[in-house]
Symmetry: C2
Subunit: 227 residues, 2 copies
DNA sequence: GACGAATTTAACCGCACGGTTCATTGTCAG
DNA sequence: CTGACAATGAACCGTGCGGTTAAATTCGTC
């Protein structure tokens, strides 16, 4: 039985316990922030004890960073599912924007963790990157689309992949992150299905317009949708 | 001396002390969040003591809400300075977007407080509004522009003031709020002057395009700038 | 100048909460 | 069986921190 040197040595295997802790911790940190979260509250949600959290993760900040990393990995995996091969650049961009918009909406915990990380001036994210020497997120999709769009003469000469990604993120992120205060100030109509469709549409229109060399052609993209 | 029933009864007048506390508290809450902030740290920054904070504001949450209200009031006052009378709707909108973009950038503490409030699902904002029965923020400017733009036939029929405000906020807010994580992931080039100009430009283009009934006319807005 | 109200200080309290100690149990190698 | 060690539980600890007590100081008033 030397094969199982790592797995399930113990009654309940450690990996399962760890991922159980991570699951609950993510939800708690996302809801209450780093200082707002109590380790005991996390423990209460798991099948294990406070003791084990420190045993496996050392201290609160390390657990928080583990959660952050775990969540980033999962989200990136989700993003990788999108396939834009074979689409015209403008259509691919439209698809990417819509996908991102929906994707962010489906991952509110990730959004909240990023918000929290921004409150902390990205201190932990920086530490993690310095540690692993790798960027946590890539923008390969946008870059490919930009190249193709430029080559086809569809996009403006001055389009920048990072700026484009910024635009896409701005809409998609804000839509989830600021939902509470926006709704508190201006009502929640925009966050019901009809409103969300409207916003997504506006985002696509807006971004494509600022990218296309011939903005007037934008309507063809929407017509093709309906037709 | 009965006239001074309220003001400066005491050696150091209470209003000054209170606003001193508010000033420091705002900075602390903005930097560290509600649970992350220590009342003693606030006290250390003021000319008064921890005891006085509780004396004047009751408890931590009430102080936080006072800060929030104070900050909202100040920001709204700042926004009121903008004068769009006499501008064509499209030009007025462009000005408003650019103003908002810069305005948010000049008020990072406000942005951070809103972020924090979103983490708390706008619990305190809701409480404050229920208390005073008034909306903390208005969108009069956008509404006026929309009316004028529709009347002039410049804007699409389906333009909605709230959605428009959402778009403007999304860009302007994200630019400040997510600066840290975005820079951590993709570099800080976009946050230097040249990058910011580029983003602001893209925002104006994008939003106007999704609003104008004839998007192709957008370039006239930029040409007039340079000419 | 004495009374009462407003303002301020210093010292204190209780406990929540991050983190630890220590002893115990389960698992495997030999 | 036994020694080594990973995994776990219960009980504990130190202190940071939100909030309070009680008493002193300053001021307006009569």
């Amino acid at each position: 039985m030397e094969k199982e040197t790592k797995s399930r040595r113990w009654k309940q295997n450690p990996e399962a316990v760890k991922s159980d802790i991570l699951r609950v911790a993510r939800s708690e940190f996302a809801r209450k922030g780093l200082s707002g979260t109590r380790i005991e509250d996390i423990a209460a949600g798991t099948k294990t004890s406070k003791r084990m959290i420190f045993y496996y993760f050392g201290d609160k900040e390390s657990l928080y960073e583990a959660v952050l990393e775990d969540c980033y990995a999962e989200v990136r995996a989700g993003e990788a599912e999108l396939d834009l091969e074979g689409l015209a650049p403008d259509r691919a961009l439209k698809t990417l924007i819509e996908f991102t918009f929906d994707h962010h909406r489906r991952n509110p915990e990730f959004i909240r963790l990023v918000m929290i990380e921004n409150i902390h001036e990205a201190r932990h994210l920086d530490r993690m990157e310095r540690l692993h020497g790798q960027n946590l997120r890539a923008i390969g999709a946008v870059e490919k689309i930009c190249e193709a769009g430029l080559a086809a003469g569809l996009f403006r000469e001055d389009v920048s992949p990072v700026a484009l990604h910024w635009q896409i993120s701005a809409f998609s992120f804000f839509n989830v992150a600021n939902r509470a205060t926006f709704a508190s100030n201006f009502g929640s109509a925009l966050f019901e299905p009809a409103g969300q469709a409207l916003l997504k549409d506006a985002a696509v229109r807006g971004i494509l317009c600022s990218v296309l060399s011939q903005p007037e052609r934008i309507d063809t993209l929407f017509q093709r949708d309906q037709g």
